[in-house]
Structures are given as C-alpha cells and as structure tokens.
Subunit: 316 residues, 2 copies
C-alpha cells in the first residue's frame, strides 16, 4: 500500500506492506489524516521512531472480529495498553508502561492507506460530523484532557500561551468552562482567526496585567515557558501541553516561592471531543491550511513546518 | 542589642539598634533560634537580603498593644502581608506581593536579642512544649503545607528524597497521613536517626522499584530533582520543597508524557505544627546538633554548613 515511512529520512513508499490485524483489532482504511507538531518532531528524530508516522485520522473499518464495526466510520485513541498491568486495570491504559502509541511508539501510524488499532480504541463518528472535522478529534481530546486534570471555574482567569493549532483548539475547549480567557501569540493571522471565534486573542506583549489562575503553555519553546511561569498567580496552575525536545535551563525557585502547581498534560478522552465537535461548540474549519494527497507528503510536511501554517491534512 | 547582621558579610554586631514595633506589632525577646538552609543561602547572597537574618524562633512578648500577649511565650509566622490587597483578603497573606518576610525579605529577623512581628502572626506556645521543640514550629509548619496542598491517601505510596533536617521533619509529618513512606538519602547517620523514628529510611540507590504516587524533593540539588522525576509514577505528584539557587538544565518532557503534577510548596500553617509537636507526634530532639550563644554565630554557621549537621540552634 501507499505509505509515508520514516527510517531516519521521511519518504513515500508505494509498496509498504499492508498492516495485519491481531485478535481484537480492526483494519481501518484511512480516509483523512492530520499532520501534528509531534509528526514534525518525529521527522527530526523525536522518540527514535521508525515506521509509518501519523496519529490523527478518520477512517472506515474494513476488517474486524466485531461485526458491528464493519463499514463504520471511526476515529481512534492512539495509546494501546497491554490490558493486563495495574495501570491498565486502573483505566490508565494511556500510561501503560508496555503501551504502543499509534505512529509514535512501536506501532505503525496513519499516514498510509490502512492502519490497525484495537477495537476498544475505536469511537464511531456521528453522521453529522464530516471527515474534515472528525480528523481533529485527537487534538481536541488532548485539549479536553486539561479539563480532566484541572477544575476550571466559571470565574477562573485563564491564559493560553501559543497561537498554534493546539493553542487555538485549547482556547475553544477551555472557553466552554465559562472562564475569562485570553489567548496570547505572535502570529497576527492566527490571532485574527481566534478573534473570529470570539476569543480575546492578543500579542504576547499585551498580556493582562493581573496574573492568571491558570496558564496553559502551548508554545513548546523555552522562552514561552519562562513567560508562562511569569503569568501565573501565586498558588495558580501552569499546564504544560507540549513536549519540548530541548533541555531547558530553568529557574524553578518561582514555582516554590509562589507555590505554583505545574500539570503535565498529554492525550485526552475522545468522547467529549466527539460531542463538542458534533454540537458545533468547537470550530475547526478555519484551521485547515491545505489538503494534500498522501503521495505529496513531502510537500505537505514542508508546508506544515511554515510558521503561518495551521493544520495540513493528508488524503490517502 | 547583640545581633547577627548580614551586609554582604555575616558578622556579630554588639550594638545593633533594637527594633521598634509599629501599631499592631509586638516586640519579642528571642529565647532560642534555629539556623535553616535558607539562612545559609542568605549568607551566600540569596534574595539580596541585608539586615538581621533568621526566621525560626521562640520568644517572649515584651511589648504589645494587646495586653493578653504580655509575657507570653510565642512563635511567629514569618510572612507579613499588607492586609489590604486581594491576596491578603483571600487569606493568602503568605503570597501578598507587598509582603515582608522575617529575616528573608525587607524585615529584620531573629538572630538577635529582640525581634518584631505583627500580633496576628503570633501563636502562643503550649506550656508542655519546651523551647527546644517550639523552635521547630516553622519548619514543621512548612512540612504540613504539603498536606494542605496534596491529598495524601492512607494508601498512597510516598517517597521523601533528602535526609536533611527538612526531609526528616517532612517524613514524620507525612507519615501521620498513614501512608506507605520511604525516606531516601545519602547520609548513613541521618538515615539511622530516621529509622529510630520508625521511618523506612534507605540509601538513594535502594529506592523502591515501583514508582511512587507522591515524591517530595528536599535535596535542593539538580541531581536530586532529576531522580525525583524518575521516581514518580505516571499521573503522580512531585512536590518541590526547596528553592534551588542554581538554574537547572532540565528535560521536562517526562512531566508531559507521564502527566505528572508538580507542586511548589513553601511556608505552612502553624496551628497543626503546634498541635503535632505538643502531642509528641513529631520528634525533634534527635535533630539538634548543637546550641551556641549568639555571640558564637560564626562558629554555629560553620557547623550548620557541615554535611553531617542537622539543626544548629542559637541562644541570644
């Protein structure tokens, strides 16, 4: 099958073997996939991944032991736990030490004609949700993870730092909590998109003078992280939403002196993301920069790397 | 009055002016004071502090507007808020942006014959609590701050990293929550003291193989912090209990991937510390390395700097 493969170099492979499903797994024909920053980092060597990258997708079940899944349009949670360890029994499959992660760790991903996931990872996509929106379920779920971890009050003052695609999704999801929210960024066109969605979006230099109850760091840069710390009030919460591949030189004393809580946040629950997208509470239309055929993956990756780019989609 | 003064150099000054109390403040004759690691850092330039250092003390009220305080034996909370800002109104005087901090920030401390604190900062010492125990109330309160911030379950698995005086106090306080607790350190005599208090104390190389629900970092070293991160389970909590003056080069990706919560923790509530010390739930006797006259402060500081030292006390 046609596939993107990373083996130190990213290339398009016309005859990559179609993945074989195991017991309890489904073979899925990928209909649309999204390029995430993690994919760009993988292309730069992150996680030492080898194989088919990609983890944001929507597709149709082609083969499954579960007849009710045949022909269904699905999205899929990307962490595959062993199902036998204490973490898995505690419902923390996403943290199973033996896990594989779709297109990120020990499991081929979705930049291909076909992919495989355990049946229990799959979620049916409601008919009213088009592929071009359903492909955003994974990053919207990652945004919902913040609400799983931190109790945002309707009166909380919240700052989202970073106007990339994840920041724009997070701002919309957190705004659902009714909080007073400001998005800070450096890219005027992206801030304009956020304003079009009713978000108070500003240049980073125009941060509110009062420090916030909750700050979400989505820049992935050392500079952004330092600014994020300075924006949290004493006893407030800083959410780290992006992995930074560089080691950072950090002064952690302010965390102790101001008794700040730092919450690392990764993958999230799909069900609320599907509900919010289906009800139109989260808008993703303005984020799609371009769609490319899978054969054009090299060009799509180049485009996704541009500072002005938002979501670039791949059609297998 | 006799006083320790830091003005770039630490020296003993025989005729330092006696502090003058303002409205709502008490003048306190210091009867015993403790040297904390923060004092050693101040002697190395931390916080740019100038004046009389020292913040752990017990004393007797000499002058006060409040007649009920006259002649009372007291300990005192060290943060003095402005009493007029939103933080102070919210009960967060310890985080008032205008605050002074006894012997640390903009306020002379307790390594002197007399000190001054607002009446509202003072707590009466129960008669059954001797000075040599009461002088530990401030660091024991800092240990209780962890229980204010983190809900330790009776079934939690907890690791305290660092066998210094703060680590030994924290281990005792957290053990009160009924949790399964291991103290890790590098100093055999200190680990022996901990074992004498019924604590499972081990060399750092003998850390439990299962990662802990909660890890408390009390080493203040970059190496300790890196080990602390590696000891927390996914979705677990890391408490930062010491300010580190160095900037640290840190890989924060594990915090995001394992969704770890980091909680900065500083000063704590005095009332539970007084209760626990008065009821004998916290033992401090084994921690007193030596008592010195205030005039001997230089020797006392030298002693406190030794790796084997625990608490060194000063008698004004």
């Amino acid at each position: 099958m046609l596939s993107v493969v990373f083996d130190g170099q990213m290339r398009v492979e016309p005859d990559y073997p179609r993945p074989r499903r195991g017991e309890g797994e489904s073979l899925i024909r990928v209909t649309l996939a999204g390029i995430c920053n993690t994919d760009l980092e993988i292309a730069a060597g992150y996680m030492g991944f080898r194989g088919v990258p990609g983890h944001e997708f929507v597709g149709v079940v082609q083969e499954s032991d579960d007849p009710s899944l045949h022909g269904q349009r699905v999205v899929g949670e990307i962490n595959c736990g062993c199902g036998r360890c204490p973490d898995c029994f505690a419902g923390l499959e996403r943290h199973c030490p033996q896990r594989s992660v779709l297109g990120i760790l020990g499991r081929d991903g979705v930049f291909a004609e076909y992919t495989v996931l355990p049946d229990r990872n799959l979620h049916l996509v409601p008919s009213e949700l088009e592929d071009v929106a359903a492909v955003f379920v994974e990053p919207v779920a990652a945004a919902f993870e913040i609400l799983e971890q931190v109790h945002l009050l309707p009166t909380s003052r919240v700052i989202v730092l970073g106007d990339g695609k994840l920041g724009l999704l997070i701002a919309q999801v957190l705004a659902m909590a009714g909080c007073e929210l400001v998005l800070l960024g450096h890219h005027l066109p992206k801030l304009e998109i956020a304003r079009g969605l009713g978000i108070d979006a500003r240049l980073s230099e125009q941060a509110p003078s009062a420090r916030a109850d909750v700050v979400v760091e989505c820049t992935g840069s050392a500079r952004g992280l330092a600014q994020a710390i300075s924006l949290v009030r004493p006893r407030g919460t800083l959410v780290l939403k992006t992995t930074v591949t560089d080691k950072l030189e950090l002064d952690l004393a302010p965390l102790v002196i101001d008794e700040i809580t730092v919450v690392g946040s990764r993958c999230g629950p799909f069900a609320p993301a599907l509900r919010a997208l289906a009800r139109g509470e989260i808008q993703v239309g303005p984020f799609v920069t371009e769609q490319h055929d899978l054969a054009d993956a090299a060009r799509a990756f180049d485009l996704a790397r541009q500072p002005e780019a938002l979501k670039v989609l791949l059609r297998p």
